[in-house]
Symmetry: C2
Subunit: 551 residues, 2 copies
Amino acid sequence: MTASDDRTGIFDTGLGKTAANYQPLTPIGFIERAAAVYPDRPSVIHGARRYTWAETYARSRRLASALLRAGIRPGETVAIMGANTPEMYEAHFGVPMTGAVLNTLNVRLDANAICFCLEHGEARVLITDTEFSETVKAALAALNRHITVIDIVDSEAQLAESAGERLSDTDYEGFLAGGDPAFDWSSPDDEWRAISLNYTSGTTGNPKGVVYHHRGAYLNAIGNILAWGMSGHPVYLWTLPMFHCNGWCFTWTLAALAGTSVCLRKVTAANIFGALADHDVTHFSGAPIVMNMIVNATETERRAFDPPVQVMTAAAAPPAATLEAMQKAGFTVTHAYGLTETYGPAVVCAWHDAWDGLSIDQQAAKKSRQGVRYHVLHGLSVRDPDTLEPVPEDGEAIGEIMFRGNVVMKGYLKNPDASEDAFRGGWFHSGDLGVMHPDGYLQVKDRSKDIIISGGENISSIEVEDVLYKHPAVLAVAVVAKPDKTWGETPVAFVELKEGAAPVSEDALIDFCRARLAHFKCPRTVVLAPLPKTSTGKIQKFRLREAAGKM
Amino acid sequence: MTASDDRTGIFDTGLGKTAANYQPLTPIGFIERAAAVYPDRPSVIHGARRYTWAETYARSRRLASALLRAGIRPGETVAIMGANTPEMYEAHFGVPMTGAVLNTLNVRLDANAICFCLEHGEARVLITDTEFSETVKAALAALNRHITVIDIVDSEAQLAESAGERLSDTDYEGFLAGGDPAFDWSSPDDEWRAISLNYTSGTTGNPKGVVYHHRGAYLNAIGNILAWGMSGHPVYLWTLPMFHCNGWCFTWTLAALAGTSVCLRKVTAANIFGALADHDVTHFSGAPIVMNMIVNATETERRAFDPPVQVMTAAAAPPAATLEAMQKAGFTVTHAYGLTETYGPAVVCAWHDAWDGLSIDQQAAKKSRQGVRYHVLHGLSVRDPDTLEPVPEDGEAIGEIMFRGNVVMKGYLKNPDASEDAFRGGWFHSGDLGVMHPDGYLQVKDRSKDIIISGGENISSIEVEDVLYKHPAVLAVAVVAKPDKTWGETPVAFVELKEGAAPVSEDALIDFCRARLAHFKCPRTVVLAPLPKTSTGKIQKFRLREAAGKM
C-alpha cells in the first residue's frame, strides 16, 4: 500500500495470506451464522407474516439463485423500490450473494428522478413494490432500454389498500420459487467490491450515486453495535426506511445479532405504539419527526409497552422538550450523526455516567451535540476547508466537518471528479459546518449552504431553530436566508404550529427569539405554514429558500 | 487477490482506496478513542495504583517514544516477561505504536525456554518484571548476544515480597520518563503487519512462534464483545495471564469499551473475591482451575459482591457440579474455545433462551459443548484430516477441528514448513479432535495426541475425565494412555482430591466409572496425587504420560 510495503523482516517472510487465514470481510456472512446458530428465532415480522432466521436465509439464497438464473452477473446492478417489508430485507443479502450491487431507491422520488437512477446506475433488474407502481410505470416508460421487473405484491399492502397495479408477469414470490434455497453463494473475492448504491437526494442537480463496499458495510454494521451498546437479540422497529443508507446498515447489524426486524409499511403514531406493545420492541431509529409523532400522540393512539426502548435519532438535535417528553414516556434517546457518504451514522453522542445527574435541560444540551467518532471510524475533525487546518477545539470556531476511515464511501459512481473533490487532502468533506468542543465532542452548526451571512456575521440557522423549538406551540421550524439589499442576507423562519396549541402570532415568535438571541440573529420575518418534508422526515430547506428568495 | 480482481465494471473504476476512505485496521486506535472520549474513566487498577484512560494512553505513548529513541525500528521484536500489571497492559499499545512486535513470554517457562524465545524471536529489548529475575538472568547469560533490558520494579510486588533483583540500570518508570506523552504514533501501513508473537508451550520439541497481525487482533478484540454480548464499560479482572494470547485479545477489547482492567499479580481465591468486592468486577475469564478455586473457597476467603459476574472459561468443559456451584454463587459461565493460533477464543457456546428452562444437568450438558464460530471467524468445521471431507453432523463421528478466517494466525515465525502444514487445504488444522452435533455445535473430544486407542477402540480421555469430575471428592483429574502389551494402550487416571473431602479409594473411583461408562473406557489404574499444571491452569498431560509410560 505504501513504499515501505516491501519491507522484508522476519515477520514479513513466509507469512502471507492463505485461504485458511484470510477472508474478505462481508456482512453477508452474518446471516449464515444467524441461520446456523439460531434457525428458529424470529428474523422478520410483517403484519401477519412471520419468518425465522432459517427461512429468511433460505429466501435470500433463493433470491440470489433466481437472480443468477435470470442472467445477473457480479458487478451488475439490481434496483429495488421497496417499503420496509421482508422482501426489502432479503434483498440486502440475496443481491450481494450474487456479487451484484443493491441499489435501494428512495420511494418518494418522482418518475424523472427514478428514471435517472435506473439509467445512471445501469440497473438490469428492478424489484418494485406495487404501492409505487404509478411512479415506477412512468419511470420505466421514460427509460430508453429494457429492464427486468419483479413485482412485490405484499398481502399487507392489500390489507392497507396501498397496493397498486402489477407491472410485470413476475411477482417476487413466484421468482423466489424458481430459486434454490440451498444455493451455495460465495463471499466476494475482494472486500473492496461494491455491495450497494445509494443515491443522495441532493438539493440541486442530479443525485449522486454513493457506492458502499463489503468492508465498510461489515464494519459499520458492527459499528452500530459498539456505538449503541447493543447486546442480546434486539427487536428493532423499522421506522427508518431501509432504502436510506441501507437502513443505516442496521439491516446487516440485525443479522449479526440474530435480532428481529419489525416491519412498518406506514409510520404513524398508532402503528408505532402498536408494534411496541405487540412485539416487545427494544430499539428503533429515525429522524426527529418520529419522536415528534410519539410525543404528540393522542391518548387513543398510545399503548402500554415495556420501557425502556432505545431510540437512535439523527439529522437534527433533539430539542430539550422532546427529549424530556420521550424520557418520561419510557424512551432513551441516543443522538447520532452521519451522511449517506458515511454509511449512515458514524458519529455518536457517547454518554457519560456523570451526566445522569444533570438537569433535563443540561442533559438536552449534552445530547444536542453530535458527539464522537464511531469505533470503526478512523478520524473525525472540524477543519478549514481550504487549508485543512483543524479549528480550535473551543466550541466557537466554525469549520467544515470531515471524516476519514473505512466507513467512508468507496466514492461517487461514474463521477471521479466529484469523488476526488469530496476526498481532497485525504479527508471526506461533508459540506456540514460545525464546532469542536473542548471535550472533543462535535456539534453541527449547519450545512454549508444553510449558513446565513448577515452584515458579514455568520448566523447558524440551527441555533435560531433551537430557540424556536423551545416555544410550546412550535411543532417544526426551519430558518433560511432571505436576500437583503442592506445586509446581504437576513434570517426568515418558517414555523409549523402544533395542532390544538394556543394561537401565537408571527411577532410573538420574533419577540421570543429576541429575548433569547443576539438581535442580529433573530428572524425578520416569520411564516406560519406546514413545512415541506422529504421521505425521511427531513425538512426541504431548498424549497423554503426558493420561497424566501421570492419574498 | 484472485484472477477476477481485474474485473473492470462501473463499480471498479475510479473508486480506489484513498487516505479518506481506507485505513488499515488496528486495535491500537481503540486506546486513542478511549482516551479522547473517556479521559477520566479508570483504565487500570493495580493495588494502590490507579490510572485513567488519559494516563494509560500517555504512558503507552511515552513507551513507544522511548523505544524509538532507544533504537527500536518497525518490524523488530520487543519481548516482555511480565505479570498482570499496568506495564504489561501498556506494552500492548506502546510496542505496536512503534511498528515493533510484542513478544509476551510465558513467565512459567524455564531459563532455557526463555533463552530460546529471545533467540528465535530476535528480541532487541526485554522488559522484565523483577519477580522473574532469577530465570531471566540465567536466560540472558545463555543468550549469545546483547539485549537491552528494562526492569519492571512494581511497588505491589515489593509489598507482596515477590520482587527479585534488578538486572539493569534502567527501570520501566525511568524509561518512560524519557518518552514523549504526546508522541504522534501512526497506524501500521498495512493491517497484515505483525502486532505480536506468542510462543506455544508445545509438549514436545521447541515452542513455535505464533504471529498475530493488526487485522486479526482488531477483529478478535471486537469478536469478544460480540460473542460475549459485552456492552457499557466492563470491569474486567485479570485472572487470565496477559501473556496468554495477549490475554485472549481482551487487552484490546477493554480499550474498545473503555472498560477497567483490575490487575492481579497472584491468582488466589482470597484475591479474586477481594477484587470482586472492592472493584465491582463484571467480567473475568480463565481456565477451569480458577472456577475450582472459587467454588472451593473457604468462608474466610469469600466476600460479598454484586451478582451476576460473567465468566468466560476455556480449555476444559465446566463439569455440571462446578457450573451449578458457580451459578448459585452468582456467576454466569460462558464456555469458549480456541488456540494460540486463533488469537485465543474463536468459538463460543452461544446460549439459547430456551435452555434457561432446562435442569442444571441438562444446562451443563449444553455448556459442555464448545459451540459455534465467533462472528469474526469465517469457518469452523470438523473434518477428516486427510481427505478434508466434513464428518457427519451427528455428534458421534470424530474428526479434526479446523478453522478458517481472519482470526487465524499469520503463521509460525521462521517456520514455513510448519505454517504450510498447519494451513494445508485452506484450513487451519488444530490438532484437536471433536464431533459436530446436529445443531451445528462443536464438541471437543480430545487433542489428537490425547486420544487413547485400546484394542483398536478410540477412548476420549475427556469423556472419562468428565465422569470422574462428577465424583464429589474429585478436585482435578487427567486421563492418559498407558502402554499395554495386550491392548496397545489402556487409560490411567491421575486424580487430585479436594482438601477435606471424605477419603475415597482408587478402586472406588474405578467402580464409579464402571457404573457410568462402557467398561473398556474405564481406567485400569487410578493414581491419587496433586497434578502438575501450567501457568494458565492447564494440566500438563505430557508429564503424566511420561509417568504412565514408566508404570
